[in-house]
C-alpha cells in the first residue's frame, strides 16, 4: 500500500503542471497530497495534510531545506499554494512570486504597487493567491482583483472590486468556486458598506455581489438605526469555505463601524460579526448566524470557517467549527445554520449563556469608567487559521488566554492596568521581549486541541508570547504552530507534547502547510520577512 501511494505521488509529480481544474481544487490534498491548491488545502479549510513522511518519530531530524527572503518588512501572512512543484506566494503588499518548491529559488516575480489611496487599518498585508486553470488571482490593497498567467507572471486582467479612495481594501486570498473568483472587501473599521463579490474567472467581469449590510427593504436593514447602515463597516477579509453538497459558500464578516461607539447604530447590526451562507451561483443569502450582536469591542468574525463531518450526539452531522474572536467556540449545522453548541474556550466574561436559538446573553457593556471585558479586542483568536484532523477528530486553535480590555463608552478600549498592558500591541516589533508570565495567569498565547463534540479542551501547549500563528495538522498526527516569539513548533496532535522546535528569528504571522516534491515532504512556514521550508535529510 505504501509503495502504491508513492507511485501515485510520483506519477502525479511527473504529469507536470497540468491545468488546475476546479475538480482538482475541490478534492485538494485528499487526492493530491503532494500539492496545496488552495489556502487551506481544500475548500473545507481543515488545513490537514495526508502526507506522512514526517512523523512524530522522525520529526526531530527536520532541517531547513531553504529560505526565501521577501523584500518587504510588512507582516508576512500569505499561505503559499503549491502546484506540481511550483510554489506561489505573496510578498507584501502585492508582489507575487513563483518559486521552485524544492529549492525556494524564483521562476518569476510580478510586482504591483497599490495606488497611494490604498489604506489598510492594520498593515499592508496579503494572505495569498488562488489558482484556477493556469491563472492566479490576487486581491490588492487598493481593492482590485488581478489575474496573472501562472507560467509567466504576466497580468491578464485587472478588475476593480471596490473604490480604494472610499476606504475599501483587500488583504485576503480570493476563494475560487467553480468558474468564479470570490473576494470580500476589507476596510470595515471605517465607514464603508462591505460586500462579497464574485467575478468571472476568465473575463474578470463581476457576476454577483452580496452586501454584508442589507439595504432598505431587505430583511435585516431594520437592525441598523437611521442611516447607519450606509456606513456600518462589516468588512470581509479572510478566506471563505465551500461545501459542494449544498453549493453554499461561507464567509465570516467583520465588526460594525464605528467600532467602539454603538450609540449611533442601535440594533443587532446584521450581518456584522456573523457567518453568512450564500448560494455560490447567485450570491443569495441562505442562512446566517450572528456570533456577536451589536458588537462594541471589535470582535470581527473573520475567522477561517472550518467544515467537518463529525458524530454529533451519536449521528453523523455536517458541521462548521468556529473559534471566534469573541472568545467562544461554536459548532453550527452548516446545512441549516442551526446553532448546536457554543462555549467559551478562553476567559470570556461578556456573556453568561445562550437562548434556545443560540443568541448570546450579553452581560458586560462599555462604561465611562471602563468595564473589564474578556477577551481583549484582539480576541481569543483572530484571523490566523485553525485546523482539524479527521484522524484525531480534534480541532486545533492558536489562542490568546487571559487577555482583557477596559471598554470605555465610545472610545478605543484601554489596556487593563498592570503587566497585561503589553498584550495590546498589535504589530509589536520583531521579537521584542514579552514580559507576561503565563504561570502567574497573565495574558499569554497557547496552542490548544478541542473535542468538537463537547468543546472540551484535550491538551494545551503554552507559548512565551501571544500568537498570530494559527495551526496546521498532518495525517501522521503532528500539529505545527508558532508564535510572536519566533519559534516554529511541532507538537504531538494527540497529546500536545513538544517534539521539535526551530528558532526562525522572526514573528510567525501565518499558519504552516505541507507539500511534496520529488518524493520529499516539506513543511513551509512564514516568519519575519521570510518563508522557511523544512524537510528530513
Amino acid at each position: 500500500m505504501k509503495v502504491k501511494l508513492v507511485i501515485v505521488v510520483l506519477l502525479a509529480a511527473a504529469s507536470l503542471q497540468a491545468q488546475v481544474t476546479y475538480d482538482r481544487i475541490l478534492a485538494g490534498v485528499d487526492k493530491e497530497p503532494q500539492n496545496w491548491l488552495s489556502y487551506s488545502g481544500t475548500p473545507k479549510n481543515q488545513r490537514y495534510s495526508p502526507l506522512t513522511q514526517i512523523t512524530p518519530a522522525n520529526v526531530k531530524n527536520l532541517q531547513q531545506a531553504w529560505i526565501w527572503q521577501a523584500r518587504s518588512l510588512e507582516k508576512y501572512q500569505a499561505t503559499p499554494i503549491v502546484v506540481d512543484g511550483v510554489l506561489y506566494t505573496v510578498e507584501a503588499p502585492n508582489n507575487v512570486v513563483a518559486l521552485d518548491a524544492a529549492t525556494g529559488r524564483p521562476f518569476w516575480q510580478f510586482n504591483y504597487t497599490p495606488a497611494p489611496e490604498a489604506r489598510a487599518c492594520c498593515g499592508r498585508v496579503n494572505r495569498g493567491v488562488a489558482i484556477l486553470g493556469n491563472t492566479l488571482y490576487l486581491g490588492t490593497l487598493d481593492a482590485h482583483l488581478i489575474a496573472l498567467d501562472a507560467k509567466t507572471g504576466q497580468q491578464l486582467w485587472k478588475s476593480q472590486v471596490a473604490v480604494a479612495k472610499s476606504g475599501y481594501s483587500i488583504t485576503h486570498n480570493p476563494t475560487v468556486v467553480k468558474d468564479k473568483v470570490l473576494v470580500g472587501t476589507g476596510g470595515g473599521d471605517g465607514p464603508i458598506r462591505g460586500y462579497i463579490a464574485a467575478f468571472d474567472a476568465k473575463t474578470g467581469v463581476e457576476v454577483w455581489r452580496f452586501y454584508t449590510i442589507p439595504g432598505p427593504g431587505e430583511p435585516g436593514n431594520e437592525t441598523w438605526a437611521g442611516e447607519s447602515w450606509k456606513t456600518g463597516g462589516v468588512g470581509v477579509w479572510n478566506a471563505g469555505a465551500y461545501d459542494p453538497e449544498t453549493n453554499l459558500v461561507f464567509f465570516g464578516t467583520g465588526n460594525p463601524a464605528p467600532d467602539w461607539d454603538g450609540s449611533t447604530r442601535r440594533g443587532d447590526n446584521l450581518y456584522s460579526d456573523s457567518v453568512v451562507a450564500l448560494d455560490a451561483d447567485t450570491g443569495k443569502l441562505k442562512w446566517h448566524y450572528q456570533f456577536t450582536p451589536h458588537d462594541e469591542l471589535d470582535y470581527d468574525s473573520t475567522q477561517v470557517p472550518v467544515l467537518a463531518d463529525i458524530q454529533w450526539q451519536g449521528k453523523p452531522r455536517k458541521v462548521m467549527l468556529w473559534a471566534n474572536r469573541n472568545g467562544v467556540m461554536y459548532v453550527l449545522d452548516r446545512v441549516t445554520g442551526e446553532f448546536l453548541k457554543g462555549k467559551p474556550y478562553v476567559k470570556a466574561n461578556w456573556l453568561d449563556g445562550f437562548d434556545a436559538k443560540g443568541r448570546p446573553n450579553r452581560v458586560k457593556f462599555p462604561s465611562k469608567e471602563g468595564t473589564p471585558i474578556y477577551p481583549h479586542v484582539h480576541g481569543g483568536t483572530n484571523w490566523a487559521p485553525p485546523s482539524f484532523s479527521p484522524r484525531t477528530g480534534l480541532f486545533y486553535v492558536a489562542t490568546w488566554e487571559n487577555s482583557g480590555t477596559l471598554a470605555v463608552e465610545g472610545q478605543f478600549p484601554r489596556a487593563i492596568p498592570g503587566p497585561n498592558t503589553r498584550q495590546t500591541t498589535m504589530g509589536a516589533t520583531n521579537l521584542v521581549p514579552f514580559y507576561n508570565d503565563p504561570d502567574t495567569g497573565e495574558a499569554y498565547g497557547v496552542v490548544r486541541a478541542y473535542d468538537p463534540q463537547t468543546l472540551d479542551q484535550k491538551w494545551e501547549f503554552k507559548l512565551g508570547d501571544i500568537t498570530w500563528g494559527g495551526t496546521f495538522v498532518t495525517a501522521s498526527d503532528l500539529v505545527f504552530s508558532g508564535g510572536r516569539d519566533g519559534y516554529f513548533l511541532a507538537l504531538d496532535a494527540k497529546t500536545g507534547a513538544l517534539l521539535w522546535k526551530a528558532n526562525v528569528g522572526g514573528q510567525i504571522n501565518a499558519a504552516a502547510m505541507s507539500y511534496m516534491v520529488n518524493g520529499k515532504q516539506y513543511i513551509a512556514i512564514n516568519a519575519g520577512s521570510a518563508l522557511f521550508a523544512y524537510a528530513l535529510p
Partner: protein
C-alpha cells in the same frame, strides 16, 4: 544668418541662459545626434534604460514625459536635476545637454516616421497567420509564453528595433529572454527560456511551457543556446514586414481591463 544665431545666443546668455540650448537643439546635425546618443548612454541609460523606458511614466522612445517638456525644460533638468528625486544634476555643458535633447527628440520622431509605412490590420493577419508569431508570443493574454509578451511592445521598442528583431533576431536578445539548454544524465535534452540561474540551480520555461528546475551538478551539460526566434528575412515580403512592424508598434495596451459595472 550665422551672425544672427550668435547674436541670439549672446542675448540668450545675457538674458535667459536656458534659452540657448533650445535654439541650438533645432539645428542639430547627424554628428550631434550621435554625440547625444553617446552622452545619453554614458550618463542617462543607467537609470532610464537604453530605450529610455525604465522609469515609470517616462518613455523617451515614445516621446512620453510625466508633463509636457520644452527643449529648454529638458536641458535644464539634464543639467540641474530634479530636487528631492533620484534625478541628479550633471556637469554637462549646455551644448552637450542640447545634443542629448536632440537625441531624445529623434528617438520619438524616428519611431513615428517608420511606423506609418505598414498597415496595422494586415500586420496582425501576418502576425497571427503566416508569421506563426503567436506560437511563442502573446498579445493581450492570447498566444504562447516562450517568447516575450508583446502586449506593450509598441511602447517599449522603436520601429527600427522591431524591424531588426524580425530580420536578425539573434543580434539583440534581452538578458531576460535568453535561451538555455540542459542535458540530463540519460541524454534527455530540455531547452527553454531561462528564468533563473544561480550557483547550484537553473530554472527554465521549457518548450511545453512547463516551469522546470534543475540541479546543475546532476546535469551532463548545460549552457546558453541561440534564441529559437527565426529570421523573417526570406519568409516575409518587405511589405509584410512593414505591416508587422506597424502592428507591433501599435501594441500599447498593458493588459485587458474588463468592463466595470
Amino acid at each position: 544668418m550665422r551672425h544672427l544665431i550668435i547674436g541670439f545666443a549672446l542675448a540668450g546668455a545675457l538674458l535667459a541662459p536656458c534659452a540657448s540650448p533650445s535654439a541650438w537643439a533645432q539645428h542639430e546635425t547627424a554628428q550631434d545626434l550621435l554625440d547625444g546618443e553617446r552622452a545619453y548612454r554614458d550618463r542617462c541609460a543607467n537609470c532610464h534604460g537604453p530605450n529610455g523606458d525604465l522609469i515609470p511614466g517616462i518613455n523617451f522612445s515614445a516621446g512620453q514625459f510625466r508633463r509636457p517638456m520644452t527643449d529648454a525644460d529638458l536641458s535644464r533638468i539634464i543639467r540641474q536635476g530634479i530636487p528631492n528625486t533620484p534625478m541628479p544634476p550633471s556637469n554637462v555643458t549646455e551644448a552637450q545637454a542640447g545634443q542629448i535633447v536632440a537625441y531624445l527628440r529623434s528617438l520619438a520622431a524616428g519611431k513615428a516616421a517608420t511606423a506609418v509605412k505598414g498597415d496595422i490590420a494586415r500586420g496582425k493577419l501576418v502576425f497571427d497567420g503566416k508569421g506563426n508569431c503567436t506560437s511563442c508570443h502573446s498579445v493581450g493574454g492570447v498566444g504562447g509564453r516562450r517568447g516575450p509578451d508583446l502586449s506593450n511592445v509598441g511602447q517599449a521598442r522603436r520601429a527600427p528595433e522591431l524591424e531588426r528583431a524580425l530580420l536578425d533576431p539573434k543580434a539583440d536578445v534581452q538578458p531576460n529572454h535568453r535561451y538555455y539548454r540542459v542535458v540530463l544524465q540519460d541524454g534527455t535534452t530540455v531547452t527553454g527560456l531561462l528564468l533563473g540561474y544561480d550557483t547550484f540551480n537553473v530554472r527554465l520555461l521549457d518548450s511545453k511551457e512547463q516551469l522546470r528546475s534543475f540541479v546543475k551538478s546532476e546535469l551532463k551539460s548545460h549552457g546558453f543556446v541561440d534564441t529559437p526566434m527565426p529570421s523573417y528575412k526570406n519568409t516575409l515580403t518587405p511589405q509584410e514586414l512593414a505591416d508587422v512592424v506597424s502592428y507591433l508598434s501599435s501594441l500599447r495596451t498593458q493588459s485587458q481591463t474588463p468592463p466595470q459595472r
